[in-house]
């Protein structure tokens, strides 16, 4: 992977993206500049945009990298030389995830650089830690999904297309779910305060539970919620009343949920890959 041109192209692109984020900050109006508080916000927004862009980058990178092995026949050679199929699959998965994590760490280092100048005060360390941990976990889960697609679709072009279409469909459906939930909670607040609200926008109890569950399970929903992670973890109750420890436990639960998704996706991938004919 590290010798491939592809990896370096993506590395450079993501570095350029991060530098642009910082540059954008430098162009902010003068009264905001030089303040660590404001850079804290920029840092958090940069993390959020990074994961949003990364899921598309991962779709392209994974499917191009793995499908090249399909096209060159390297995967068949590995199987012939006695490696079990499960370990061939796992190696690809580990390589792709580690690449994603390395790219993330490099970019994290770059966007942290301005802290040397502005100082770290004004930033809530715990929130940032939670955000970084969740992003790292999401990178692994998302890689697991794309490796599944790329290992099962031998054609290079098709695997790129399916990966990108899949992630777009996931993001759109996450957006729709989020929209439904937002309308619901907004109308509920209006109803409680006795103002006018639209009855059709309030969801039934079971319906609401299903949407909420999907909101927590789908990785793309978590991607969207890296922005307001604390509210998301606390289920939109008042954060100031909830101790940090409890939020950390919620985060651990979310990571566990991601781990289950990861295991399910990988198990499905290995099972199908075992039965697949390699040309």
């Amino acid at each position: 992977m590290f010798r491939s041109k592809l990896f370096w192209i993506f590395m450079i692109l993501s570095v350029v993206f991060c530098v642009y984020n910082i540059y954008d900050d430098a162009n902010m109006p003068a009264e905001f500049r030089q303040s660590g508080q404001i850079y804290g916000y920029v840092f958090e927004a940069a993390l959020y945009f990074y994961i949003l862009v990364y899921i598309f980058a991962a779709a392209v990178l994974d499917s191009l990298f793995i499908s090249r092995e399909h096209a060159d026949g390297t995967i068949r050679n590995k199987v012939i030389s006695g490696h079990p199929r499960a370990s061939v699959y796992m190696t690809e998965l580990i390589v792709c995830s580690v690449t994603g994590l390395i790219m993330f760490i490099v970019n994290l280092a770059i966007i942290s650089l301005p802290f040397l100048k502005f100082g770290i005060h004004g930033m809530d360390g715990w929130v940032t830690m939670r955000r970084i941990i969740l992003i790292a976990v999401l990178i692994i889960v998302i890689n697991a999904m794309f490796v599944l697609f790329s290992m099962l679709i031998p054609s290079r072009a098709s695997s790129v297309v399916w990966s990108i279409v899949f992630i777009i469909i996931m993001l759109v459906s996450s957006g729709l779910i989020q929209d439904k939930l937002d309308n619901d909670s907004h109308s509920r607040i209006l109803r409680e305060s006795g103002e006018y609200y639209e009855h059709s926008k309030i969801l039934g109890d079971t319906e609401r539970k299903v949407y909420k569950a999907l909101n927590y399970i789908l990785p793309t929903n978590q991607v969207i919620h890296t922005y307001d992670i604390d509210d998301f973890l606390a289920d939109y109750k008042d954060i100031s009343e909830i101790p940090q420890k409890k939020l950390n436990i919620y985060l651990a639960g979310l990571c566990l949920l991601d781990a289950v998704t990861f295991v399910l996706v990988t198990a499905a991938g290995i099972t199908i890959f075992r039965k697949k004919d390699l040309k």
Partner: protein, 287 residues
């Protein structure tokens, strides 16, 4: 050339690709209306406006065109059929124009198919639409020109990179980037026109203010934050990108203000990209 055209159309309509894309669009057209129908809890369905679903086909046309064009035209390079065509006596320009004609015809068919299915379903299930049918047909006609422009753009990329995989990657990323850019530009220009509305008649003349009041946007007026070349460039993209056009179709009640410019830009993009693509394609060596 006519023989080549006939063969290309036959390849397009007998291949799996065209029908897969058709299937995708049909599912897309059905799903939004059916989803809205299933999740809305209201007794009176005739009051729910579903105009937005009519133009999702156009919004996703960038992606559809990226996949369709790069698979249809790009696989010719991988399979070597393009060399066979040259040996059979066709000119490079002829091959390029044939591909353009076939891809745009197929995509326009898909666009209208999406529209009619979405229209039929929103009419049957809900029955409330802002636009009259004639306005919708005019909008679809502008959209068809936009589809040709997008096809020409994607074909240019495919013919220059000459590989199916790279073409599909570059085209899909381009269409995603354009989509995000469209949303950003539309938001920014909406803010710009809100700023003008707040500033009132001191900055802009009375007749321009009337236009702004009526259409909620007026061209070529500087505000404090957005002015000069930056404004002109943003207004150009506001009118010329297909996704931005489609997003604006669904927002407005009648023909969008400046629709003539949309038509002109669509035709201009088609001509310019075809010219660049054909010239580069003629210069490049084929393996």
């Amino acid at each position: 050339m006519i023989k080549l055209l006939r063969a290309e159309f036959a390849r397009c309509f007998t291949g799996k690709l065209f029908w897969l894309v058709v299937l995708f669009n049909v599912v897309l057209a059905l799903s939004f209306n059916v989803l809205t129908y299933a999740t809305t809890k209201s007794e009176d369905f005739s009051k729910i406006f579903t105009d937005k679903t009519l133009y999702i086909g156009l919004i996703s046309m960038g992606l559809t065109a990226a996949v369709f064009v790069s698979f249809h035209a790009g696989s010719e390079f991988d399979e070597g059929t393009i060399r066979n065509k040259l040996i059979a006596g066709n000119t490079k320009t002829g091959i390029y124009l044939c591909d353009l004609a076939v891809c745009s015809a197929a995509l326009i068919i898909i666009q209208y198919l999406y529209f009619f299915i979405a229209y039929a379903f929103s009419y049957i299930l809900f029955g409330a639409l802002h636009h009259s049918f004639s306005v919708m047909m005019q909008l679809q006609l502008i959209g068809a020109l936009g589809t040709i422009a997008v096809t020409a753009f994607m074909l240019m990329i495919t013919m220059i990179v000459r590989s199916r995989t790279i073409a599909v990657t570059v085209c899909m990323i381009a269409s995603i980037v354009f989509f995000i850019a469209c949303i950003a530009i539309i938001n920014e220009l909406e803010e710009h026109s809100m700023e003008l509305l707040d500033a009132g008649p001191e900055i802009i003349s009375a007749e321009k203010y009337a236009v702004l009041d009526k259409y909620s946007y007026v061209y070529g007026v500087d505000s404090e934050n957005l002015f000069g070349t930056e404004l002109a460039v943003k207004e150009f993209f506001y009118d010329s990108l297909l996704q931005s056009q489609a997003l604006r179709f669904s927002d407005e009640r009648s023909l969008p203000y400046h629709w003539e410019f949309m038509v002109i830009y669509n035709i201009a993009i088609t001509l310019v990209t075809t010219l660049i693509g054909a010239v580069t394609f003629r210069r490049l060596d084929l393996k």
